[in-house]
Amino acid sequence: MFISASCVSVAPPDVMARVEQDLAGVPTCIEMFRAVPADCKANPSYCLDVDFFNKNIVSYQEGAQTANAVFAVSRYEETNFVALCNWNRAGTLRGWKYIESNVLAACEKSRLTFMSKNNTSLKSCEIYARGNEIQ
């Protein structure tokens, strides 16, 4: 944990500027994308525990810079603004298909819950970024 945490830097400013513009209206998603290991203690909800038995908490930037990380979003059908987001990471050996299907399934579950609870239509989930590369 210490080794990888020490290697993680903040997200590139141009990427964050784009994220802040695209995800405006969902501050939690912006903070999730921005989070580095140091943020996990203060805001555990921005981070994920990828190893249940050994409590290995990772932030999106750690996943993006040290492994394969995917950030997915779902948009309002009427306005095209982002309504919700999900992310996860996996080791490079697992390949992109593994982590993308995992994140998209989780995002669709959130989308289904949102639509059902709010009676508001959302577009199907899409990959917003692979690591720090916005699609």
Partner: protein
């Protein structure tokens, strides 16, 4: 070696117990819905009744997600539960029975019975108010209302439909549009008729789109979950082969000790930290 055996045992138990939530929900529904004492918990009984009527159920999972699944449609059973709940004074069930008898969904349509059921609850639920108004409108069109009751029921119909339409209930908008266009029970007002017709169209389109998106989302969840599971199995097969090699190597290593981080050979935690797993 002990640790490896223990881990395998834990994974075996967890693996066997991890039935998909949708499957767990079906088992829960089947267990609860056919319980003869179900009406002792009206909320649960209503949930089961809606499941029997619509063929779809959902439950909010502790992780925050809403889990949906299909169940067998059994309208008679659903109506029977609502009837039992109505007998013990459950207002929601009374309103739902009124709606069922108005639409004739699963029963023979009985507008008089529908009006009698909906009248006491029309001020509590806007959909009950709308259905009450629609039922009166239908009875008026079929000339089923005695002259002496007409004036009172027309007033009731209009106030109920207006209340329900204000809450975006589509059948109430449709009924009002017809009433203002026909000009039989109220003065003709084409502007108002068109307003309600347009409103009804917009709301119906929105509702259809939402239903379509919900169906699409459920389909995508199973599609992505299948891809994920296939990829995980593929990786697990490769990992197992590698693990056998690693276990073999470790069993020959004299210096092997219990280690979680910074191990040689690297532990699972090390591999996770390095972004390999």
């Amino acid at each position: 070696m002990k640790k490896i055996l223990l881990t395998l045992l834990v994974f075996g138990i967890v693996g066997c117990a991890s039935v998909p939530p949708e499957q767990q929900l079906i088992s829960y529904f089947n267990k609860q819905a056919y319980n003869s004492d179900i009406t002792s918990d009206p909320e649960l009984a209503r949930w089961a009744a809606f499941g029997f009527l619509n063929g779809i159920i959902y439950l909010d999972h502790p992780n925050g997600n809403r889990i949906f699944t299909n169940v067998e449609i059994n309208r008679l059973k659903g109506i029977q539960i609502f009837e039992e709940l109505n007998k013990i004074g459950d207002k929601v069930s009374q309103a739902n029975l009124g709606i069922i008898y108005r639409s004739g969904n699963g029963v023979d349509q009985d507008l008089r019975k529908s009006i009698d059921l909906l009248q006491p609850v029309k001020d509590d639920y806007y959909d009950a108010a709308g259905e009450y108004g629609v039922a009166i409108h239908q009875m008026l069109k079929m000339n089923l209302i005695p002259e002496g009751e007409k004036k009172y029921l027309i007033d009731e119909m209009l106030s109920s439909l207006e209340l329900s339409a204000a809450n975006n209930y589509i059948p109430a908008h449709n009924s009002l549009s017809q009433l203002y266009r026909e000009g039989i029970y109220i003065n003709t007002d084409l502007a108002k008729s068109n307003f309600h017709l347009e409103k009804s169209k917009v709301l119906a389109e929105k509702k259809i789109k939402l239903a379509r998106n919900i169906a699409e989302s459920r389909m995508l969840i199973s599609q992505y979950s299948k891809t994920f599971s296939d990829e995980a199995s593929r990786f697990a097969t490769i990992s197992m082969i590698v693990s056998f090699g690693a276990i073999g190597a470790m069993s020959y290593s004299q210096g092997y000790q219990q280690c979680s981080v910074g191990c040689s050979p690297p532990s699972v935690t090390d591999l996770l930290n390095w972004g390999v797993l």
